[in-house]
Amino acid sequence: MGSTITEKILARAAGRDEVHAGEIIEAKVDLALANDITAPLAIAEFEKAGFTKVFDPARIALVPDHFTPNKDIKAAGQSKLLREFARRHEIVNYFEIGRVGIEHVLLPDAGLIAPGDVVVGADSHTCTYGAVAAFSTGVGSTDFAAAMAWGHVWLRVPESIKFVYSGRPQPWVTGKDLILHTIGLIGVDGALYQAMEFTGEAIASLSMDERFTMCNMAIEAGGKSGIVGFDEKTTRYLQSRPDGSHAREAGRVFASDADAEYARVLEIDVSSVPLTVSRPHLPSNAAPAADLGDVAIDQVVIGSCTNGRLEDLRQAASLLRGKKVHPDVRCIILPGTQQVCLDAASDGTMQALIEAGCAFSTPTCGPCLGGHMGVLAEGERAVATTNRNFVGRMGHAGSEVYLASPYVAAASALAGHIATPEQVGAAEGGSR
């Protein structure tokens, strides 16, 4: 029997020739990460259990990105805990304000994730790194505390679902539309405990930024992980990292065997995937953006670990440049990292967005989880390029979030209601 890419990565990490779905293994951890919300609980558990040292200060990342720059005194206390722990244990990858970014944009961009890695993070969107052919999965604070001490994690080897995307996407349709559409097809527990393996010619033609977006949302279908196979785009991405994660590639690039076993194979013709929006209050409530009718909005959020990369901001700017955000709409831009900010500043993206009337934030998770920098009042409605639209996710329990791509979000910011680029008069496009 052949193996999936996920089984091969986990076999290597478990020091075994092969492992198969259903087995429980102890896998070596290449990187363990946590943020200002999940690390404080983990630090308390780590210390309560009597651990005095971390397994490797270079293989832990502490990223204060959720309620930072500190939104209130309690949040400042949590950040302080993280900072002091990082100093005490000489954590190499602690990122202070001014250098920090949104963890799932920052860590791969900083060259900390290599193909074949096993990454566990105390944040559910840790599944993002499957875009560089790594196995990565979200865990809780106690699992992170254990990984910090032990350098290993227990895992049940997941079954995989193979998604085969064929055909050419319609104009403006991006990886975000593909993943919202996919979650709509299988539901919010359609991939429960499983790995989502994204394959096919349409995935090969996606940019790295789009692959990150797709893997990021595997958790919204209940998935343990999302993964895209290694190709020349992965190589180019890794070679352009500052620390060169490609240096660790040798012997760690895996691919699924032709006779690998899958729980399910789903074929999706992307030419029939519309611009997709997920309506409140589940990511699986997917619908064609053009069919929603007149849904008036109060706020647009463009950014986050899902869509806060340079390409996302450029797509938004391509629609907003030279125009004005609708007078009844607040449009907030949440770039993923300081480098994204710098790049957006140097290529004119930031200027176009600010001139259009957008608020340009420092990198933070901010309003995505109802933290700060754009929390919604009762009865308010937002279109967001983020990943969740649960009850109360962006603020008051009586507010609503519609999930969409940067193109749809920017078009909606102009229109004052949910709209497609075509509906706001954009010339046919959607640069790939």
Partner: protein, 168 residues
Amino acid sequence: MIFEGTVHAYGRDVDTDVIIPARYLNTSDPAELARHCMEDIDAGFVTSVRPGDIIVAQENFGCGSSREHAPVAIKASGVSVVVAASFARIFYRNAINTGLPIVVCPAAAGGAKAGDRLRVDLDAGTVENLTQGKKYDAEAFPPFMQELIDRGGLLPYVKSRVAETEGA
């Protein structure tokens, strides 16, 4: 271990944002988290919950964010055990790791109504609806997870594994 309590019933896909909204995650204090438990799905929960009560839900309980504050808040609110048709995977791990008893039992979850009295026997693996006079078998945990539960959570297990490594 046997728990007997009154049912608080919920549907499917109860996410960790409604179990404990992120606006309260600027603290890790269990008592403070418990004061806001289930706030965005059931505003009356905090005042109606009694020590030993049981949460019953349908599929995919605890989906979404990895926040361990969710099982911590449920446990600190006095809930003795959560019975569901299925659990989202991070919540499932977090519950085992932090010692919040959980039981997978679709039949019991499907039949229970708010206010019913349940008796959950973790050792026998049964859920009994005392109000309706029905008894169900729960799904057994895989042996490794049962070992973690028996040891009192993940960290006691990891402590012994780290000690083995250092002793080797």
